[in-house]
């Protein structure tokens, strides 16, 4: 499969060189006459690019489930490519999708695809719409045919934290994290704040593995957390499968992330914060089909159906269930903020002042660079 895809890159480059030489000449004479291949047809071709395998029980699976949801819509063709590195490769993939498959809407779903790869392609193909998952799109700074969408999954980690807060006996919970970027830091902080809403004595140990997918290091990190007494584990890595299985094997409770991992640890799985990309992609596609302008900065949380929680597992006690459901209801009602002052970071600096609170859509949260008090770990 990899070989075939490489071959298609080669073709696309060659075809592209030929057509761009001819196309440039025509375009300069009559710009309005030149229609992209997909625009001439009534079928909308949508491209999805994943950084890993699309059945990884994690980040990529969540997106692929979203892509599967729009395959069912009429007049939509979906093209997908998996295991595309966050490097020049993704530009080639986008180019193939645009030139060979006629994709007019492209979703590069991994964080590192945004800058410079997607931005380069957007400049080169101004008629194609690009929407990136997780990037921070800014008006004026980034091209108008690009945009970003993301979900406030921190709320989900807050709810995970509530379940963890009731389940922990050692008052120590663990987090296996990939890289200290704002989204990851917000999840770690939310997880601890959720647990502390149950018992303020709880601490959360974090271990960064440095990469989105490193199976052996994730297993080592999970073992190290359990060795240090953490008895509820969650994570933010691309594929939580290894963390979930290793943690449950060691007897820790598990809170899931990205997708529903309860089949991997049915007894130990408390709940999990999952993406619900199907809703988001359906919305984009419907707008594109109707000829409406696509949003450039699309965000939503549990309330908007961007994020959902896994069903509570058998180990969740009645008391925990009540608090979980009450908080969920509060979030669904709108206006709930996880980050309410005063909050200090774990170096003692006040990061959210007394009386200040950041709602889920506060832009400040998307540039978070600290770990809150009670998290044992460092951002660098």
């Amino acid at each position: 499969m990899t070989k075939l895809l490489h071959a298609s890159h080669a073709i696309s480059r060659r075809a592209f060189l030929q057509s761009s030489a001819a196309g440039a000449a025509v375009a300069s004479l009559a710009p309005g006459l030149l229609l992209s291949p997909a625009a001439a047809q009534s079928v909308l071709t949508v491209g999805f690019i994943y950084v890993g395998p699309k059945d990884d029980y994690g980040y990529n699976q969540a997106h692929a489930e979203g892509a599967a949801a729009i395959k069912a819509l009429a007049g939509v063709t979906v093209v997908e490519e998996e295991n595309v590195p966050e490097a020049i490769d993704v530009q080639k993939t986008m180019e193939s999708m645009i030139n060979l498959d006629g994709a007019t809407l492209v979703f590069p779903t991994s964080f590192g695809y945004f800058d410079p790869h997607m931005l380069e392609m957007a400049k080169k193909y101004p008629d194609i719409q690009f929407r990136h998952c997780g990037g921070l799109w800014q008006e004026g700074k980034h091209p108008g045919n690009t945009g970003s969408y993301f979900g406030y999954i921190g709320q989900g980690q807050y709810l995970n934290g509530i379940a963890a807060g009731y389940a922990t006996k050692s008052k120590k919970i663990g987090f296996v994290a990939a890289k200290p970027i704002p989204q990851v830091l917000q999840n770690i902080n939310s997880f601890l704040l959720g647990a502390r809403s149950v018992d303020p004595a709880i601490t959360c140990q974090v271990i960064f593995t440095g990469e989105w997918s490193l199976a052996v290091k994730e297993a080592e990190a999970t073992n190290a957390l359990v060795d240090q007494g953490a008895d509820v584990i969650t994570c933010h890595v691309d594929s939580p499968k290894v963390v979930v299985e290793t943690g449950a094997d060691r007897g820790a409770f598990i809170c899931g992330y990205h997708a529903n991992q309860s089949p991997l640890a049915p007894e130990k799985y408390l709940t999990g914060a999952e993406w619900a990309w199907g809703n988001v992609y359906t919305d984009f596609v419907k707008k594109a089909q109707a000829g409406e302008k696509l949003g450039n900065f699309v965000r939503g949380g549990l309330k908007e159906g961007f994020v959902k929680m896994s069903p509570l597992g058998p180990a969740v006690a009645e008391e925990a269930r009540k608090k979980f459901e009450a908080t969920l209801a509060e979030i669904m009602a709108g206006g709930f903020s996880v980050f309410k002052g005063s909050i200090k970071d774990n170096k003692g600096k006040v990061v959210v002042a007394e009386g200040q609170s950041f709602a889920e859509d506060a832009i400040e949260l998307e540039s978070m660079d600290y770990l809150v008090e009670g998290v044992v770990g460092s951002t660098a």
Binding site: M1, N223, V226, D227, L264, G377, S378
Partner: protein, 308 residues
């Protein structure tokens, strides 16, 4: 007792446990490569064999519910990949290093392609022996849960070390590895010996893959190896083609790899990227410390293409 932290003692414990848990794939790949290189050939394709072995073992274990059948199947496909490498290298003017790189990509690509349906299902795991049952600390119990493949690997290192010196097969392997001409004069066919040595190396490397997918971390996905097969090939040179050296070097790499997560877990959280580089820094330091400007690598087989 309820699981509680064991403080800084967690670090040496994690290094020990990590050495045992993480080293097994390194042990098998490097022992396999030691056999191949002792015969005078380099098989750089073992990263591909490792991953293909991991996929095969997982797939067969999922379908038959027997992890041991998975290990056997991995050995068989590993041997086949080795045979293919050996067969191609038999032709004159074929460079074994280039073929190895091609075989690596071939093995990876084929494993990713055929392994698609096995990412989701869960396979039965290989058994471990609980040497830590005497302790009431769960951390020690977990660290002393030692997989049988690790023990087999340790025994195999000793056996190979002995066999290289004391058996006829070992002698044949060394003669072929040191001088093709001498081997021909003895009536040996170097190509056949190297073919078999590469096949044996492939079979062992694939066992390393089976350990990855069926025990630790114990799942099949495309990033399961992240270059361990390549590192293990380098370990052989580091270990001077000595099987016991391979075993010790593998332990060192396993333990050094566990250092990063263990230090973070006890609160040493600054500079973890640096700790993650520990195995490589260690390699560089040892290589520099043991190098000599006056003599070439001790123990290097004479017919190896890097020494020719």
């Amino acid at each position: 007792m309820e699981a509680t932290g064991i403080g800084v003692w967690g670090v040496p414990l994690a290094i020990f446990a990590g050495a045992v848990r993480v080293s097994t794939p390194f042990i098998f790949v490097s022992l396999g490569e030691a056999i191949t290189e002792r015969s005078g050939r380099i098989n750089l394709g073992l990263e591909g064999t490792l991953v293909f072995g991991a996929m095969t073992a997982y797939g067969v274990a999922v379908m038959t519910l027997s992890p041991w059948l998975g290990v056997l199947a991995a050995m068989a496909v590993g041997a086949c990949l080795g045979l293919l490498h050996g067969f191609i290298c038999k032709f004159p003017k074929v460079n074994d290093i280039a073929i190895g790189i091609a075989m690596m990509q071939f093995g990876l690509g084929l494993a990713f392609f055929l392994g698609k349906p096995f990412i989701q299902p869960a396979a039965p795991k290989l058994p471990a022996i609980a040497f830590g049952a005497w302790s009431n600390l769960p951390q020690i119990q977990a660290a002393l849960n030692i997989n049988v493949l690790f023990l087999i690997g340790a025994a195999l290192a000793l056996l190979l070390w002995w066999a290289f010196r004391n058996t006829r097969v070992g002698l044949i392997l060394r003669v072929v590895g040191d001088s093709s001409d001498a081997a021909r004069a003895m009536g040996l066919n170097p190509d056949t010996v190297r073919l078999l040595a590469t096949a044996a190396g492939g079979a062992l490397a694939a066992i390393g893959g089976a350990y990855l997918s069926l025990y630790y971390p114990g799942s099949w996905n495309e990033g399961i190896s992240s270059g361990q097969g390549l590192m293990a090939v380098a370990l052989v040179i580091f270990a001077r083609w000595n099987p016991i050296g391979c075993f010790l070097a593998a332990l060192l790499f396993g333990g050094a790899g566990a250092l990063g997560p263990a230090l973070q877990s006890v609160g040493v959280t600054k500079g973890y990227y640096l700790f993650y580089a520990a195995p490589y820094v260690l390699t560089l330091v040892i290589m520099v410390a043991t190098s000599s400007p006056t003599r070439s690598l001790a123990g290097a087989p004479g017919a190896l293409s890097i020494t020719k």
